[in-house]
Amino acid sequence: MIRSLFERSVFLTTLVGTTAYIAASGDLSLGLVVIPLFILGWLITSRTGGKRLPRAVVLMLTGLATAVASLAMFADEQFSVETLARFVAILIVVKSFDRASPRDHAQLIALALFLVLGAMVTSVQLIPGVLALLFLPLLLGSVLLYHIDAGRAILGDTAAAIPPRGFLRDLSVLGSVTGLIAILISAFVFVVVPRGIGDAIAGGVSGPGVGSITGFTPELNLTAGGTIETDPEIVLEVQPEETQGAINAVAPPILYLRGAVLDVYRDGRWRASDPRPGQRVSERMVADVWFAPRGRLPSGTERYRISIRNASAGVSPLFVPDRTIGLRLSVQGQVSWRRDLGIYKRDGDSGRLVYDVLVAQPTSSLALPERSPVELFENEIIQALAERVLRDAGIEPDPALRPVERDLEAARVLRSHLSRTHEYSLTRPEIPFDADPIEYFLDNELAGHCEFFASSLVALCRTVGISARGVAGYVAAEVNPTTGGYVVRRSNAHAWAEIERSPGEWVLLDPTPTTDLREIHQPETSVLRRARQFLEVLEQAWVNSIVAFDSNRRERLLGLQQSSDPTGLLGIARFLEQLEDLIEEGGAAALGAGLLAAGLTTGFGFGLLWIYTRLRRPRAIHEQWQRWPSEAMRGAHIEILSAFRRLDDPKPDGRSLLKHAELVGNAPLLHASQVLCRHRFQGGHPESELSDAMQAVSRVGRDHDRT
């Protein structure tokens, strides 16, 4: 029983560990090779009763895998987690064909553990994380069973060492309690270990996914790049304040999040202009204090909480909606602001970044009768196109003759023309080497993605004297109904244009066809989508609580922010005080929920293991005794037991019938017990044999009573 349970536990442990790494790396080809081969090897060795591959073959395969891994690392000229994990996965496959002793199974457990560690290094996403959590109780169960199975294997006897009932119950209780205590200790260590010290001290061994905002680029290069980003990985979440009311989850309004303003164009590239003196403001912001760059916080504003999941270390953009007039960081940090562009950047550690923004309501103020100096876009073809479109619409293309009030109208006409005549496509046009990408898009290709639309509108506007600039960032168009907030993915990276209606007042104008924009960024609701959104809520909780735990949150939790407590001991004391306050203030429910969640996670794994073993385990002997194939056997069993009682030697619980009969030493009873066991477990014996034996048992009882 122990061996069987141990082997199943090792199988599950290895399978979950391997799957965790494959989920983390996204290496589907590795999964398609390793997992079926592992299962095949396991089945073959199970069916052949532990017959393993010849030693020479195992050594040859192991040597081959080592050589391939070494060559791969040599070619990469660096240590690579991916190469090492592939090597370990191949070893798991080889070992599955070469398993017989508990030691072999222990090696499989160790290899699976290394794969899980590889998964942790490779990815911080929810699925690998959950698999790693599921791996924990399986690992614990396997290790516990290993020591029991290995001890029995040393003595070479397997039949006699079946422990009595209660073994599985006690082992499960011990494993659960151990796992729970381990989680609590781990949580304590997790909080206490300082963050931000020694970052990248040993180089970039860790994999991707830590400290990078993906999908967005602060510059646009229209001549490079292929298909634009389609990865659905969540980059940030935007949660509106509760008082603003719920957003319509079916057709939410599109929220544009500005990340970079691109006002300089050269050779197919857009970039931000260099700041002039006084245009950049850099300020050390105190946590939870509003920063109002324009010096006023008017009423009638909207408030959003924005969480960037994985901001990179150093300077990284703070994505803010259009018309943002106030900013508040959840932790203190250095923020710089471009007055002319309305762009915010933060300088700090990598990890999760949370901030609040205040957004002014859209105004319908009249444009002032003046125009800022416009940087002209010199391209005759584009200029001719813009002039033709405006003339067709009855608007004077010459800025000297056109009233300032009609600039915005002119820009809208140009946008309508673009949307009408050009097709949206996610594929980059094949642009000739010597051609200008915007001109080629407008005059030849007539199809492209958002960057081409935005660039073209800016170019068209500038050629007719309208002040315009491009903006890169994200569009928030998808609402998770569970959280009620916007979810922004890598694939929501977008570019649009802004038109200067009056000096310093810019109006957003998106030339990308609205239908296409919604189709790309606002997918239809379906059952699968809802399931995915539910998973994303879990992932959000995972990221917020585990992945994004940084030095600021640690200091806040331990109360270290306003102290100079290098050892952290005072902080621990404050933490305990805060914990006490939390409980007193009614936070006990939250604390209990946390503990419950930890317990449930551990219990879930053990529960799965228990259900699996319960379903798959062959019936224990004592259970088989409860099921009698015939009344005669059941009666014989009762009669034998009563004969033992009459001899003043009743059979105790936990001792087998045969064993007890041997110990008592009464020949007829021993014979009857042997016959009964043969009939019960082997079958095919004549009924008369049992009845003869039972007659002898009856005589024993009678003789004893007579005596």
């Binding site: 029991i148 001890g151 781990s186 970052d199």
Partner: protein
């Protein structure tokens, strides 16, 4: 080899506490610590919180590994029951069993994966057992496996229990002081062949002639016929009833007796063991044929007798026999003497003595 049969926990005798304990780190423990340290380095380097969690779990494993089975080991009590082999003796080179009783004194903490080890003096072998599980407050009787490399009577003084449960990081050892003894027999040999056949007529002739001479006393039992018994002595009616030849025995007449004189070389251990094995085989054969048997060895001797206790005493004496030729003592009555001589010695034939020179006589 564990029986798994729970004994009654009630006992008059008090269970002795462990005499000592020692906890030590294993190689796997060092590797574990190394991996844990690597985890924290990787976590610091990458600021990956999952690695910090893994590091925390590593620390938790280290702490729990020391506590869990450490406390359980201190609550274990062990008692020696004895060798359960034939004649309560173990065999050289073969698996034998030594029984122990182990009790878990803890009220709520079960113990798992406990090894029991006793080492025989002078590297003569060891006794090992494994207890996969012992519930709180329960007692279990286990059969330990004896691996003995040579013959002898060994004193046992220390029972060691150890465990690496739950994670294999540290080995927790406790030991109990307990005095005992283990008799190790040489490998058995088959001797009911020519050797005993050669000696058998003389033994029974001596006894039968005395019976016939005396022929006084009451009939009190039947015994099986053995070659050498006069055919006239066979009780034919009972033979027909029992379907095997039997002869009557009379009160007042002595049983047939055999004295084994063992001569060992003291130089060649293997040859001496063979001689001892031959002598033991003779004892067993004689006992099976209801012949009283005694041993004359170098440093001790035992007069002929019968019964299982006498037999065990003879075997114990033979197992501890050393070299040197024994001196022949005169017996009060006529006893057949069989001399068993180690093949490492030269010819030592005395008159009126059947000589078995191992192993030639055993072929």
């Amino acid at each position: 080899m564990t029986h798994g049969a729970l004994l009654n926990s009630a006992s008059d005798r008090r269970w002795a506490k462990p005499a000592g304990r020692k906890f030590g780190l294993r190689l796997t423990g060092l590797l574990y610590i190394l991996v844990t340290m690597l985890l924290v380095v990787a976590g610091v380097n990458s600021q990956n919180n999952l690695l910090f969690i893994a590091f925390g779990l590593g620390i938790a494993g280290l702490l729990l590994s020391g506590f869990i089975s450490g406390a359980g080991m201190m609550s274990l009590r062990v008692r020696r029951i004895g060798c359960t082999g034939a004649e309560r003796a173990a065999l050289v080179g073969a698996d034998s069993e030594y029984a122990y009783s182990i009790r878990n004194m803890s009220r709520w903490l079960p113990v798992f994966a406990v090894h029991l080890v006793e080492t025989l003096p002078e590297g003569a072998g060891e006794i090992r057992a494994f207890v996969p599980y012992l519930a709180a407050g329960k007692t279990v009787r286990i059969g330990a496996r004896i691996k003995a490399h040579r013959r002898g009577v060994f004193e046992l003084s220390r029972i060691e229990l150890w465990s690496v449960f739950p994670l294999g990081i540290a080995r927790k050892r406790v030991w109990h002081a307990s005095v005992g003894e283990l008799v190790v027999r040489p490998e058995p040999v088959q001797i009911q062949l020519r050797s005993f056949v050669r000696a058998r007529p003389a033994i029974h002739q001596a006894a039968t002639s005395r019976e016939q001479r005396a022929h006084a006393g009451e009939f009190y039992a039947l015994r099986g016929y053995v070659p050498g018994d006069p055919v006239r002595s066979i009780a034919w009616k009972r033979t027909a009833t029992l379907d095997k030849p039997v002869v009557p025995r009379f009160a007042g007449t002595p049983d047939p007796e055999l004295l084994i004189r063992l001569t060992l070389s003291g130089r060649d251990e293997a040859a001496d063991d063979e001689a001892v094995a031959a002598a033991i085989a003779l004892i067993e054969q004689a006992a099976a044929e209801q012949v009283g048997v005694g041993v004359l060895a170098a440093d001790s001797n035992l007069a002929p007798g019968s019964g299982s206790a006498h037999k065990r005493a003879l075997i114990r004496m033979l197992c501890r026999a050393e070299g040197r030729s024994p001196s022949l003592v005169s017996s009060g009555h006529r006893v057949q003497i069989v001399q068993v001589v180690s093949r490492a010695l030269g010819p030592q034939v005395e008159s009126d003595v059947t000589v078995i020179r191992s192993p030639g006589a055993l072929a």
